[in-house]
Every structure is written in C-alpha cells, then in structure tokens.
C-alpha cells in the first residue's frame, strides 16, 4: 500500500464487494432514493415544461415585447437616441405621423394595394425578425398580405405612389421599389411595406409639401436644413422582464402607453406559484429522504460493526473506515440517481405521448435541461454526503478491539 491510488482502489473494490454481497439492502437504499428522485424530476420537468412553453409563446410574438405609444407628440432625434440607449430598450425607431405612413403600392394597372402601411425598419427589428435582411435605399420588405395582393415576389419592382394637394393642385409622387423579401403571414397581418427610415421621411416631407426629388416632382418648398421630428416611436423591450420598467419610464415622461404586461405578469405568476409548490414538495421529500437514508445507513453500520472492527484490526485506519462508508453512500446515491433519471425518462415520454397529442391540453411538454440534471446529481451527492458523514462519524469510532469481544 505505497501509493494512495492503490489504497483508494482497494477501498473502492472492498466497498463495491460489500454492497454487492449485501445487494438486497443496497437495492432497498438505492430504491428509496429512486422513489424520491424520479417524482421530483418529473414534477420539476412538468413545471419547467409548462412555464417555458408559456414563455416561448410570449417570446414568439414580438408584440408582447412592444410598448405602444398611444398619442402623437413631437420627439427629436436626440430623444429617440436617449430612448435607444436605455438598458430596458431592445429596439426603438422613430415613426412619422400615422396619416403620413400610408401610400399606395402597385404593379402595373391591375395589381395594387390602396393605403398600404409604410413602416420604417432597421437591423434588429423584432417585428420582422430577419437578421440578415434589412431594406436600404429603395428596397422594401412586403407583408404576406401585401405581397399576395400584388402577386409580388422577391426581386420584383413595385411602384410606390403618394398623393398631395399643393396650392390647390393635386399632385402625384411616385418612386420604384425593389422587393427584398416577403414576410411570414404570422409576423404581420395587414398589408404593409417595410422600408429604410430615410424613405419614410421622404414620404412625410412630400406629404408636407416639400420638394422631394425622389418622388419625381419639382414643385414645393425647398427642404433646407429641416430636422426630422417624430410623432411617436416603435419601442420594444430587451426581454420579457424589461417590459414593465420600460413602460414605467415612458409613463414618467407623460406618455400614454399600452402593452401586454398583464399577459407577462400572468406567466410570471404561474411560474412563481408552480415554483413555490415544487419547492415545498421537494423540501418535504428531501427531508424524508435524508431521514430514511440516515436510518438505513446507521442500521447498516451497526449491522456491519464486526466487519468494520475486523478491517480496523487488519490495519485499516480510522479515515479509511470513514472513506469506506462515504464511498458506499456515493455509489448508492449514484445508482439511485441513474435509476431516478431512467424513471424520469420513461415518465416524461409517457406524459408527452399520452397528453402531448391531446387537443384539450394543447402541446404538452415535460422536460428538463442538462443543467437541471447536473444540479439534481449534485443535490443527490449533497444528501449522500450529509448521510455519509453522519454514518462515518459512527463508523470511525469503532475500535479494532471490538472484533475480539463476542457480544
């Protein structure tokens, strides 16, 4: 026994051989662990599955992140910039007055959309969620509804037409746009075209009677050094948790807003309640588990007192006997954990199979992440270590002389 690895190997093999020899009792202890671990994992899987599914649904719809500004105001570029720099803000973009955001889109004489919404967009717009595609210059991204009515596809040219009345004369401005992409139907319901912000400003200036060469008209006031003023902003929170503070900040600026905060709070409340229920059940189960394991371990050590005394007589040191007990606890808890994980796998598949396809429950999921599994393993080892330390404290006090005395 010169090297400690040899000692550890001998100790490990003795611990394993003892467990195997006593396999009925070992099975009982491991099974009591499985009986705690498997239901807790299933319960946690359900809680996590239900909550994360609700959260996914919230996240899938960008409107849940949006804080709508209800009234028009006058906001300069600096204010928009301040809004953008707030930590709660995920995306913010100035918008023109709502009347000026409408224009007609047409291809030839037959295919047209009257009064389509023209909306400014920039990279990172959650409404579009098209990371790589952002319109620049004369490019446009059409909503599914607009594309369908125009029968337009990517690469087509679309005419944008706006009307104005200047000095009693009706004027018509037109420019040609290229379709960059077509949005998924679920992303935006109405007929709309998403364009780069300067193009929307051009549209507003044209409506306001300025001379805008892009629309092919030479009439109107010269633009001069006109600073853009926005009527409102399209604002999205960075994540679900930031909606409330962002809305609060806007309200502090005396801006009326609306958001889906109530839905978000609902999910949070469900998460909180389920978490609390799970926590209480888990605590009760863990206390029972620790108590039953301490009992089983102490009884086991009393039963093996003679063997442990013989080991001491043969030259096992106190700490080796303690290690023997701790090692057995760890092996048993590992077996219990693996068994629990197996039962969890079967149970969660059963849930998904029996309930997942049902119309009444919608998509039903029971799942845990790898990290939850690791956390459960560490918790199991923690319980085992606690039990083992109590057992080892008793075991190391067994004297070698006890092997000589017959009781």
């Amino acid at each position: 026994m010169n090297r400690w690895t040899d000692r550890l190997r001998l100790l490990g093999s003795l611990a394993l051989q003892d467990l195997w020899h006593d396999r009925k009792v070992s099975l009982c202890i491991a099974a009591s662990l499985v009986a705690v671990i498997a239901p807790l994992l299933l319960l946690f899987g359900l809680k996590h599955g239900v909550v994360s599914q609700l959260q996914d649904e919230l996240l899938r719809d960008p409107r849940n992140l949006e804080v709508k500004m209800l009234s028009n105001g006058n906001y300069d570029t600096a204010w928009i910039e301040r809004l953008r720099l707030r930590p709660e803000t995920g995306f913010a973009l100035g918008q023109t007055r709502s009347l000026n955001t409408q224009a007609d889109l047409l291809i030839g004489m037959q295919r047209f959309v009257e009064g389509a919404e023209i909306i400014a967009t920039e990279p990172g717009d959650p409404q579009l969620n098209l990371a790589a595609l952002t319109p620049v210059g004369n490019q446009v991204i059409l909503s599914a509804s607009a594309a369908q009515r125009l029968q337009a596809k990517v690469g087509d040219s679309v005419q944008l037409r706006a009307l104005r009345r200047l000095d009693g004369v009706n004027e018509r401005g037109e420019m040609t746009l290229t379709v960059l992409a077509v949005l998924d139907g679920a992303r935006f319901g109405r007929a709309a075209g998403f364009v780069a912000p300067p193009l929307l400003l051009d549209l507003e200036h044209f409506r306001d009677g300025y001379q805008v060469s892009a629309f092919g008209v030479a009439t109107g006031k010269p633009l001069g050094n006109l600073q853009p003023l926005y009527a409102r902003a399209r604002v999205y929170a960075r994540d679900i948790d930031q909606v409330a503070p962002l809305e609060h900040w806007l309200n502090e600026q005396h801006i009326e807003t609306s958001s889906r905060l109530a839905d978000i709070d609902n999910v949070k409340a469900i998460n909180h309640v389920l978490g609390l229920i799970f926590g209480v059940i888990a605590m009760a189960a863990l206390i029972g588990c620790v108590a039953s394991m301490v009992g089983a371990f102490l009884a086991n050590i009393d039963r093996k007192r003679k063997s442990l005394a013989v080991l001491r007589l043969l030259g096992f040191k106190r700490r080796a006997v303690g290690g023997f007990v701790v090692l057995q606890a760890l092996i048993l808890s590992l077996a219990g954990y693996i068994g629990g994980l197996g039962f969890y796998a079967v149970g969660s598949h059963l849930f998904d199979y029996l309930l997942g396809s049902s119309q009444a429950t919608g998509t039903f999921v029971c799942r845990i992440t790898v990290w939850h599994g690791v956390a459960a393993l560490l918790l199991t080892f923690l319980v085992a270590a606690l039990v083992a330390v109590i057992g080892a404290l008793r075991a190391i006090n067994i004297q070698p002389a006890e092997s000589l005395r017959e009781l």
Partner: protein
C-alpha cells in the same frame, strides 16, 4: 522474539476495576504458549494488551522481533497510536473466536487482504503451503457463509499468518469446534507455527487438548481484584 516484563492492565473504573498482571513472558521463534484460566479471569484482556489494543497501566519491558527487536514499551508509553497500528498490522496476526472473516469477500480475498493492505503481492509461497496443509484448495472461491465453522477457523488461521507476522494471537480458536476438529486444527496450527518460525499465544480452556499436545502454559491465579498470569505445568 516476544519479551514482556511487568505488564499491568486495568479493566473498568473505581471499585469495579479489575487488574490483570503479567510479571514475565518470553516466547521464542517457533514456540507456542497457551493462556488458560476460568471465564472472566482476564485472558482476553491480557490478549488485547499484548495485541496492542489496550493500553497498559504499568509496563517495564515489551520487545518484539528477532535480531532487531522493536521497543514496543516506548511506543505504548508515548501513546504513538499510528506506530502501534502499524506494528499491529505488520507484525501481529489475529485468529478470532468466530473466525472474523469478512462476509463480502471470497476465501481467497479474505486471505490476501492483510497482504494487499500492506502493499505486498497477493500471492506467496507460504500461503500456498498453508492452504495445502489446511486442505483449503477447494474452498478458495467460496464465500465464508458457505463454509462450516471448522472450515472458517482454518481460513482464519491462514489469514492470520498471510502477511508473515512475528506473533500470532489466537483467542479460543477451537471454542466453536467439535473435539475432533479442534484437535485437527490445533495440530495444523502447531505445524504452521514451527515451520514458519512464528511465536504464538493461544487462549484456550480446553485443558485436555493442551495436555495432549504438551504445550507450555500460562495460567491465571485469581486474587482480590487482580489476576496474575504465571507459567504452569
């Protein structure tokens, strides 16, 4: 080999205390000495003290070993537990009343465990020899609970000498055996001790058996609150 002078151990406290005194004891290599006495006279207490499991109250001399005898008395006086445990596991071999085999190890593993604990190779010639002499070849792969009591005691004998100790301590090894098996075990024990050159102390109350083998004997003389162990014939 073993040389003890003026050993006094105490069991219990105050008025309940019982003293066991050993004025003188010398056992040479290959010699076997019996310790006899009535039940409760303190035979096992004496064995525990010699087996370094119980600290003595008084001790003049305790030496163990052939040429370079180790001064055990010094270790006991300074209460050097790690060193005492090392001496115990390296130089002493115990045969317990009920065998004391580990139930979860096979006979083979039980026998090799003392050697593996000391970092010695699991195999050795004299283990093979002892296994031969005690006729244990067919039992090596069995578990202890599959053996008869006599077989278990024979295995315990081999385990006790597996790591080539200097001193063998046996606590009534034949107590649980029928007379014939007891006699056979004794014979085998004697032959092992003499062939390996060990010293051995055997606690026994089987007077007839000891007489038949003509073993030198250390007998208990009971006095008030004290037991004295002296050589007898």
């Amino acid at each position: 080999m073993l040389d003890i002078k003026n050993l006094l151990v105490r069991r219990g406290e105050g008025a309940q205390a019982h003293h066991v005194r050993l004025p003188n004891l010398q056992v040479g290599a290959g010699e076997i000495l019996a310790i006899t006495g009535e039940s409760g006279s303190g035979k096992s207490t004496l064995l525990e003290a010699i087996g370094l499991l119980l600290a003595p109250v008084e001790l003049e001399r305790f030496r163990l070993g052939a040429t370079q005898a180790q001064d055990i008395a010094h270790l006991l006086a300074t209460d050097d537990q790690p060193a005492l445990a090392a001496v115990r596991s390296r130089h002493l071999g115990f045969i317990l009343q009920s065998g004391g085999l580990l139930p979860f190890l096979s006979v083979r593993d039980n026998i090799s465990l003392p050697r593996r604990l000391l970092g010695m190779s699991a195999k050795s010639e004299h283990i093979d020899h002892a296994v031969d002499v005690l006729r244990l070849q067919g039992l090596l792969d069995k578990q202890p609970q599959a053996l008869s009591i006599g077989e278990r005691q024979r295995v315990a004998c081999v385990r006790a000498i597996a790591h080539e100790p200097l001193l063998l301590l046996a606590d009534e090894p034949t107590a649980a055996l029928d007379p014939l098996s007891a006699r056979r075990l004794f014979e085998l024990l004697l032959s092992l001790v003499s062939s390996m050159g060990l010293s051995a102390l055997v606690v026994s109350h089987d007077w007839a058996l000891l007489k038949d083998f003509g073993l030198p004997r250390l007998g208990a003389i009971n006095r008030q609150g004290e037991t004295l162990f002296e050589p007898m014939d």
